[in-house]
């Protein structure tokens, strides 16, 4: 191939070889570029962790986690409760990365956090030494319409299984306006303490859990920076920020009134005309 052509003057063999090289290189670059483009789109998609998948305790923020985790599975191996699993290629979690589903097997919050210790890269931060400081997600009552406690019953299961009972989940008593004489014990999650272990979601007695652990960013609201909570300001400054002589405004919903020092919040009896006619009455018979 490198022999000089013996006949008519042709382009120097060097130039032909160079042409071929550039052509080959361009072809390969195109082919690889095409494949890489596809992979880039796939990578972009799998960067979004599905909301029902939770990372092990101490995991870096999802974007940092996906470059830091080298998919070795040592956290999976050292989890004594087989909570963790490595994502299979068909799953919608990035292939080979560890995750768990709270409704299937929640995190048991081991005191010694073996999964974090096992991580060779720091994708699970070794600075996490107290499992109570873990933030795997945040539990949220996603459905007040089906939660039994909201319906006025004493299910309380999420509260009772919570490893940080009365801190991460409290039951806040509230007047049951439906019956007018009972109390509803509303499960309230406190983000300061909730680790996102998922035991509440696992234990929820409903067919579809009414309490679910969601990614923190999805579940947590944020007050405007300029917001001030009156009662906290009062605590801090020792007096109310609102002048004492301002007449109190109740802003009650329609049909309610407030008896200060008396019965408290009272629902007005609806006008008779709006009630459905009682059976057997003259009106009903008509």
């Amino acid at each position: 191939m490198n022999d000089a052509p013996k006949t008519a003057p042709a382009p120097a063999p060097d130039s032909a070889a160079r042409r071929q090289f550039v052509l080959d290189a361009a072809k390969m670059a195109c082919g690889i570029g095409f494949a890489a483009g596809g992979l880039a789109l796939y990578a972009k998609q799998s960067k979004a962790l599905p909301p029902d998948a939770l990372r092990p305790p101490g995991a870096l923020a999802e974007t940092a986690f996906q470059s830091a985790c080298i998919r070795c599975g040592l956290c999976v191996r050292d989890c004594p409760y087989k909570t963790l699993d490595l994502a299979k290629p068909e799953s919608n979690v990035a292939t080979g990365t560890p995750y768990f589903n709270a409704r299937t097997v929640p995190c048991e919050m081991c005191e010694d956090i073996p999964c974090v210790k096992a991580c060779p890269t720091g994708a699970l931060e070794h600075s996490l030494t107290d499992i109570r400081k873990a933030k795997m997600g945040l539990a949220v009552i996603v459905d007040q319409e089906t939660c039994l406690n909201y319906l006025g019953m004493r299910c309380d299961v999420c509260h009772r299984v919570c490893p940080l009972i009365d801190k991460a989940i409290t039951l806040d008593p509230e007047h049951n306006t439906r019956t007018g004489k009972h109390t509803r014990f509303i499960p309230v999650v406190h983000s300061e303490h909730c680790t996102g272990c998922g035991k509440c979601e696992k234990a929820c007695v409903l067919e579809e859990a009414a309490i679910k652990v969601l990614p923190f960013a999805l579940a947590k609201g944020a007050l405007g920076k300029h917001y001030r909570l009156g009662w906290k300001e009062k605590e801090r400054s020792g007096e109310s920020l609102v002048p004492a002589d301002t007449p109190h405004q109740y802003n009650l919903p329609e049909g309610y009134r407030y008896e200060l020092g008396g019965r408290g919040l009272v629902r007005d009896e609806p006008a008779l005309s709006t009630l459905p006619p009682a059976p057997g009455t003259a009106k009903g018979a008509r």
Binding site: M28, S46, I70, P89, E90
Partner: protein, 305 residues
């Protein structure tokens, strides 16, 4: 292709079956052994090795990291910690010493798949199909690192058949079997030695590691070559042989210096004249008679044989 003369047939006659398969057997034992060590934990509860080929922890003392995965992780913006870095250093030094692509032929589980595909391809007499430039893998290697940097993820690990197969065997296969099948069919029907020899960026990475590796195959007794071509038939990277085997006339030494050589040793097995052996890259002097042989000398040698 010359009919169905099995490559190595001559060697079996000349040296006996075992000697003609020695390195192949040792290599298969190595591949199976590595896999067995990893499987012993999950299957039998004997935890000698934990993890997978991306990172493993042996007897709770020896960390081993795939340096290529770690490099992607770094490119993606991560700052890995001690254990992973130490593991990568150990692996890099080891594969530098024994020849980078020893990983491919002695450890990688995909090699078993592509070797079977190649064997079947010969058996079925499937001729040349698509030609892929062997340099493609380096472009693939560069692309995977660029992708890691651009997406901030270890993007190649989403689809890498090597880690997918190995992880699948140890942690549950899932749909990874489809990837194995795809690689198998690619090698069987699409391109001869297609995946490992042309495309795989993991192999390309270990080729780079092997650029100056001391342990190499050498055609030390190339003067005895009888041009039976069996070494070319079995070699997964057949372009690496010629410069060393036929280089005497041009004053090229007998050591196979190409970093693409996987040090599989199959050429040593199938050569009835024992031309090849393992050696060091430094032992590369041109020793044949007067050092530089006239062009006809090689042909003359083989005529004599």
């Amino acid at each position: 292709m010359a009919a169905l003369k099995r490559p190595g047939a001559e060697a079996i006659v000349a040296k006996g079956w075992f000697a003609a398969h020695k390195w192949l057997i040792v290599r298969r034992v190595s591949q199976a052994g590595v896999l067995a060590l990893f499987l012993l934990g999950p299957l039998a509860g004997v935890w000698i090795v934990k993890g997978n080929l991306n990172f493993s922890y042996t007897l709770n003392v020896l960390p081993l990291t795939d340096p290529y995965v770690l490099l992607q992780s770094l490119a993606g913006g991560a700052t890995p910690e001690g254990k992973a870095l130490i593991g990568a250093a150990i692996v890099l030094v080891f594969y530098f010493l024994v020849g980078g692509r020893v990983y491919c032929s002695w450890v990688c589980p995909v090699n078993l798949v592509t070797d079977v595909a190649h064997w079947l391809r010969r058996r079925l007499g499937i001729g040349r199909t698509v030609r892929i430039p062997r340099k493609l893998r380096y472009y693939a290697l560069a692309a995977t690192l660029a992708l890691a940097a651009a997406t901030g993820t270890v993007a190649w690990e989403l689809v890498n058949p090597v880690s997918m197969v190995h992880r699948g065997l140890i942690f549950g296969i899932g749909a990874a079997w489809a990837v194995v099948l795809a690689v198998f069919l690619f090698d069987l029907l699409f391109a001869e030695r297609g995946w490992c020899g042309h495309v795989c960026p993991v192999g390309a990475f270990y080729s780079v590691v092997a650029l100056k590796s001391p342990l190499r195959v050498t055609a030390a007794r190339r003067a005895d070559c009888n041009d039976c071509m069996d070494c070319y038939a079995v070699c997964p990277e057949m372009h690496v042989i010629k410069p060393a085997l036929k280089g005497a006339a041009r004053g090229v030494g007998p050591v196979i210096l190409s970093p693409n050589c996987t040090n599989c040793g199959r050429c040593i097995d199938v050569c009835s004249k024992d031309v090849f052996r393992f050696g060091l890259r430094y032992d590369n002097r041109v020793t044949e008679s007067a050092g530089r042989m006239p062009a006809g000398a090689v042909a003359a040698c083989s005529d004599r044989a």
